[in-house]
């Protein structure tokens, strides 16, 4: 396919798979996305690990972690379970939601299915409510072409306010560009302006007041705005987490490599 000359340019950055060598890292990147969009395939090709991939939704139910080095910067890559939204409460979705909320990833890459973009964008919009450091990877471009679909990523980037990069994880097409973009979003060389629900004046005021209270209650909480919206919405799970101190615990613990399983499952690759 038409790979841009930059991708093959020798001056271009070099990718090194780091496998499980993630005890030292400079950045954390989370891979989110709907089920079966090829997150694990991208994860494997970047880290050189063999996280089991399978053509069915729900293959990954825990998070897997691995590392890669790009342009001399070491990244820890966290493969999250596939989810359709961040609003519901099954355990695999909660793993994803908690990590995006409190794992303080430097960048969240939302892997989307080019052949079913509309449904995938729901999650993108929800992730953008939480963090502004988002890169949308429009995966399965080969399948889209086969189905006679053309995805205008420039229009997509413009509408979303975050970069959208077309890739085919299976062949590696576009992956270099994706990695460069991740780097630039983290270093804020690319300024994102995520599209967020602005709502009415009352809504904005209510969100502001409530997020102020949340920050007062739990200092260092990274996503007070999103939590405020969830509380206004009456999200029972978030209310419960606030009342029983779970939220505060999550903020304290999430940064640690808390899921003992994760490295083991990444290694055995047979989850």
């Amino acid at each position: 396919m038409s790979s841009s000359p930059c991708e093959t340019c020798p001056a271009n950055a070099h990718l090194a798979q780091m496998g499980l060598k993630i005890d030292k890292y400079d950045r954390i990147v989370a891979l989110a996305g709907n089920p079966n969009t090829g997150k694990s395939t991208l994860f494997n090709s970047l880290t050189g690990l063999n996280q089991h991939t399978g053509n069915w939704p729900g293959k990954t139910v825990t998070r897997a972690e691995g590392g890669y080095e790009f342009n001399g910067i070491r990244y820890k890559l966290v493969d999250l379970p596939g989810t359709y939204s961040l609003l519901s409460a099954s355990q695999d979705e909660e793993v994803a939601r908690n990590f995006i909320l409190f794992g303080q990833p430097d960048c969240v890459v939302v892997v989307t299915d080019a052949t079913a973009l509309e449904r995938n964008l729901n999650l993108v919009l929800q992730v953008m409510e939480i963090t502004h450091r988002v890169v949308v990877a429009v995966n399965l471009m080969d399948e889209a072409r086969r189905k006679g679909l053309e995805v205008d990523v420039r229009s997509l980037s413009r509408d979303l306010g975050v970069p959208a990069i077309p890739i085919t994880a299976r062949t590696g097409e576009g992956v270099q560009t994706l990695l460069t973009t991740i780097e630039e979003v983290i270093s804020e060389k690319i300024q994102t302006k995520p599209l967020r629900a602005s709502g009415t004046v009352e809504f904005r005021q209510a969100v502001e007041e409530l997020s102020g209270m949340i920050t007062g209650l739990i200092p260092n909480i990274p996503n007070a705005r999103w939590l405020a919206i969830r509380l206004l919405d009456g999200d029972a799970r978030v209310e419960q987490a606030l009342l029983n101190g779970e939220l505060a615990d999550l903020v304290a613990n999430q940064r640690q490599s808390d899921l003992r399983l994760s490295s083991k499952t990444a290694l055995a690759g047979n989850q």
Binding site: N50, P57, T62, N122, R170, E202, G212, M213
Partner: protein, 469 residues
């Protein structure tokens, strides 16, 4: 106000404030959020995605029309499964035979060498007739079927067929009061029950998740498939003319799988009406596009992740098991070996189930890994001094039928017992970790073992009542 009393702000205050603010936002606020989300997604997608050519009929959809149709879905599924078993059985027969011959020839040579060097008999016996023989059995009985079955299974998985299986079976699970996604976790169980138990995390409702966990063991895992395939080939099929033997073997493995699915549904139904009462919840199952399987990926997954993984695990347990069996068979108390004593003690109970004492002893020794039940059993039979050498797999039948009074009932009940009995140690541990409850982990053992006893006892009694054995 909140800003003034930051010091003693409590979560309750925040919640109360949220509740107070909510009415100001208007009644439709909640729907607005979701609606604007969907509307925005639709608008953006419509602008970004263009259909270049109107392909009148998607090939995927055309295939799905057939493989998930109410009429053809289930028959196609059964045919595919039967085909996979048949290829495995036909293909692994000769390599198994060759491996067994080679390994046991080597055992003879090496043991002879040790004897010539003047190594004490018990070291030679322990090492070569114990540990080595255990390993040799595991490799020759299990490696060929696995090397054929796993790639085939992985192709189906990579192709995207498994979610279609779940789709076809959904209505059955719903009727059993369980979650439709249980069909998916059940399919995962065919790979490994421990993995199937972990996979139940995709089920939201704790009630339905527990049902899925407790019943996952009723589908035979990769570790038990070789056992079933071997029993079907050597014992069940051998009772039929050679022309149809391989079909009978494939058919009986398929029958065992169907019985497993039947018990999954039955136990799910019983649980959802007694201890875990409730209604089945609705869910959306996405049928992923069919994808051309990636050859390298399939080979990696089926050989490294599955074949080597299962084989290594089996060998790790087979070596010590082989040593234990050799010792049980060679330590004599009061004129008979320990193995004989234990087997004789278990015999009445075993016979009641249509099995015998040796089989039960083998199951006890093989609790750490189901993979080694048949090798263990054979080693106990041989270790009891009835037979010192076994030249090949074709002799197996002669040995067991001729000298240990095996009947068709023994083989069938052994297959049933292998299907229904308790999960392996790894799975039990996984259930404990996932449910965080020793009670449910124990329940998984009691339910499965109880059912295994009940079913084999029933078939044995029936067979005897009707004078078949």
């Amino acid at each position: 106000m909140a800003t003034l009393s930051d010091q003693n702000l409590t979560p309750q205050d925040v919640l109360a404030r949220a509740q107070a603010l909510r009415p100001r936002l208007g009644a439709a606020f909640r729907d607005e959020i979701v609606k604007s989300l969907y509307g925005e997604a639709e608008r953006i997608a419509r602008r970004a995605v263009h259909r270049l050519e109107d392909k009148k009929w998607d090939l995927d959809q055309r295939i799905d029309r057939i493989v998930t149709s109410p009429v053809w879905g289930l028959p196609i599924m059964l045919l595919l499964l039967a085909g996979v078993f048949w290829i495995t059985i036909v293909g692994s027969n000769i390599p198994s035979q060759m491996l067994a011959n080679a390994f046991f020839w080597l055992e003879g040579v090496l043991a002879g060498l040790f004897t010539n060097w003047g190594v004490p008999w018990w070291i030679t016996g322990f090492l070569w007739h114990g540990v080595y023989r255990g390993l040799a059995w595991v490799v020759s009985v299990m490696l060929p079927p696995m090397a054929i079955f796993f790639p085939l299974f992985t192709i189906l998985e990579d192709l995207g067929y498994l979610p279609r299986v779940a789709f076809n079976l959904d209505f059955l699970f719903k009727r059993a009061g369980a979650h439709g996604k249980q069909a998916l976790t059940m399919a995962m169980g065919f790979g490994c029950n421990a993995a199937g138990v972990v996979a139940t995390r995709v089920i939201d409702s704790p009630r339905e998740r527990l049902i899925a966990i407790l019943t996952n063991n009723f589908v035979p895992c990769n570790g038990r498939f070789p056992t079933l395939i071997m029993l079907a080939t050597v014992f069940v099929a051998a009772a039929f003319p050679p022309v149809v033997a391989s079909f009978v073997a494939a058919g009986s493995v398929l029958a065992v799988v169907l019985i497993g699915v039947f018990f999954t549904l039955l136990v799910s139904w019983a649980l959802s009406r007694t201890f875990l009462k409730g209604e089945a919840s609705a869910f959306t199952l996405e049928l992923p596009p069919y994808r051309r399987p990636n050859v390298g990926r399939i080979l990696y997954t089926s050989f490294i992740d599955r074949t080597i993984f299962v084989l290594l695990r089996a060998m790790q347990t087979a070596a010590p098991a082989g040593a234990v069996i050799w010792m049980l068979g060679n330590i004599y108390v009061g004129g008979a070996s320990l193995a004989n004593h234990i087997a004789n003690f278990l015999d009445p109970f075993g016979l009641l189930l249509g099995l015998d004492g040796v089989i039960l002893l083998a199951y006890i020794i093989a609790i750490p890994a189901n993979e080694i039940v048949v090798p263990t059993m054979l080693m106990v039979y041989m270790g009891t001094g009835m037979m010192t050498d076994l030249p090949g797999l074709d002799m197996l039948r002669t040995l067991l039928v001729g000298q240990h009074d095996w009947t068709l009932l023994t083989a069938i009940n052994l297959m049933l017992f292998s299907l229904l009995h308790n999960p392996c140690a790894t799975t039990i541990l996984t259930i404990y970790k996932e449910t965080r409850s020793a009670k449910w982990a124990a329940a998984s053992v009691i339910i499965t073992l109880g059912l295994a006893f009940l079913v084999t006892f029933t078939t044995a009694s029936f067979a005897r009542l009707l004078g078949w054995v």
